[in-house]
Symmetry: C2
Subunit: 348 residues, 2 copies
């Protein structure tokens, strides 16, 4: 339970002329309650209620029962029950976090619903010190696993063996596993941005590793490209890598409070365009990282959002040449007064 | 691309008086295309189109381009583009697979949409021989990892160390990692059905392990409870375990074509009720397993669905005593002529 965040949410919904709210997204629910669960939170002033699935009830009610009335969820009648609590209040609902089925429940049982986009996820964009400490820890664990690799030792082994090593480490080191299916892409497989580890032997060209972990419900994200051969498929590998590094650095040099997200994407893209690689940069430059591995803000073409202190974002330019291979370099950064701090590094 | 399944889908939508369909769910898309992607498939007779995100385009188009026209997805204008393809056809959409945002896109751009619940997931309930072979393999990998444990060797180690071992093995043995965050719950932690592995040392009472893997996009699921001490917290542990085993066996003895899902739940519940444990059985008896770890049919109270040959379901009664501990025993079964076959076992 986080009273400061709940208070801020009550202000947000007041601003939207609502006097109650329903939270349906598990990450939003965790942010407000400190409990990760498939739960539904009904905020009615003075008597907030949480509906928990029976399998999660005991574990969550132990944490929440001081601040919320905890009830066991009956999925069939969930929205009917929510409607009984909300009555004729103007109840805020986040349409971006709603399934169509839930929308039908809202329509039928909350006649005075007010749709507020990003009601809680908007609050989550700027991280507080407690959150930054957890993301830093998650970033350190990912960096210790990947930057700690002696990649030469992995030549002759397979993508899946290396992946197995990373996921094992993530649990052993204190994380709750990887934040997403790791990408371990050797040789030509690296041309696919999200290649799933398979049986290809790590022996030629370069290898791309995209890895992150979950630490106490917060994520981290980094990508490394290691060059195993100096020359590969007649492409000047090191030159490609250097151009990609320059593209990343161009964005990182600008990264700080007050900068438009779209301008960061454009800065990296320009470096790649100038050396003829722009067409191979086929995704966004980066994304926010927090309770979700991908969240706002998005560093994408044209994005108007302006960075603020306390935001956490990835910077990850990549180039992908079908049939040949691809490279990506990615770190997670904290936006701070005067600039930024790279969080994905080994802490000693 | 699976022409038999596509043909069957065209028949389904004809039965719903539609002459086109849009598929938005990644698992449904995989079932029809053989490609796992966040894609949108538009089935208009004679010229099916697939919208792929730019990062997945190369990898998927290589597989799909013979059978589908592949286009790069522009998320902002996706439903506008879908509408241009569908024109004034009656287009089938599955409401249970739709986000509210996607529903708005449908409403605006597909004026003649026809809602068909479980349009593709309904087809997925009965598995074909190719799918059964993959699920069998996934089940064998999970069983090899868990049933292959010498649990005595893990006394003194932590839940997370055992979890790390299981996830590493899943990748090394040929799976694409675990099908869900494994449950490794020692001592009193076992009272929580979905406890996440932590730092508790495996040393007293019993330990509950719920584990499954993904093999070529198909899942498996099993749970074991191992008794480490003969007596624990004044409860007769072995008697509890035996009663739970009898509850599972009561359902498995009935498990076969023609049986109502609700009757299976009731059979296990009755055994537990008769020995005074019914109140501690707080979840459904089981669920279907396939491309998704939880899919239809659900073995739950009152469920009218009748089992058919080729369905794959878990049977997993559990009892959870807050503050003390919990037990669950689970296997995955194939429904066959005359009965069933346990798939979660070590294959030699």
């Amino acid at each position: 339970m986080n009273p400061v965040r709940l208070e801020k949410l009550y202000e947000t919904i007041k601003g939207g002329s609502a006097d109650a709210a329903v939270i349906t997204d598990p990450s939003d629910f965790f942010y407000l309650s400190g409990c990760k669960a498939n739960a539904v939170m009904v905020l009615v002033p003075g008597s907030p209620v949480v509906f928990l699935s029976p399998v999660e009830y005991e574990e969550c009610a132990a944490v929440l029962s001081g601040a919320f009335e905890c009830r066991k969820m009956d999925r069939e009648n969930l929205w009917l029950r929510v409607g009984e609590l909300v009555k004729d209040r103007k109840c805020a609902v986040d349409p971006s976090r709603l399934s169509y089925t839930a929308y039908l429940g809202v329509k039928e049982n909350l006649p005075s619903a007010v749709f507020i986009e990003d009601m809680v996820s908007g609050m989550r964009v700027v991280k507080d010190p407690e959150e930054i400490a957890l993301i830093r820890k998650a970033c350190g664990l990912a960096a210790a696993a990947v930057d700690g690799l002696d990649i030469g030792e992995w030549a002759g082994k397979t993508e899946r063996q290396l992946c197995a090593h990373l996921v094992k480490r993530s649990w052993e080191d204190g994380a709750s596993g990887p934040a997403f299916v790791p990408v371990v892409a050797a040789g030509p497989n690296s041309a696919y941005p999200h290649h799933e580890p398979g049986d290809r032997v790590i022996d030629d060209g370069w290898i791309k590793i995209d890895f992150g972990v979950v630490y106490r419900n917060y994520c981290s994200d980094l990508t490394r490209t290691y060059i195993l051969d100096k020359f590969f498929s007649n492409l000047r590998t090191e030159e490609l890598f250097e151009n990609l590094s320059r593209a990343k650095q161009a964005a990182v040099d600008m990264l700080g409070p007050g900068v438009r997200c779209g301008d960061l994407h454009a800065a990296a893209k320009k470096v790649l365009d100038d050396c003829g690689l722009g067409e191979h940069f086929i995704h966004n430059l980066g994304h926010g990282v927090g309770i979700d591995i991908h969240e706002k803000p998005y560093l994408k073409p044209g994005a108007e959002q302006v960075l603020e202190e306390g935001m956490v974002v990835t910077v990850e330019p990549g180039i992908y040449i079908p049939g040949t291979g691809g490279m990506r370099i990615e770190d997670t950064y904290l936006i701070k007064s005067g600039g930024n701090e790279q969080l994905t590094r080994i802490y000693r």
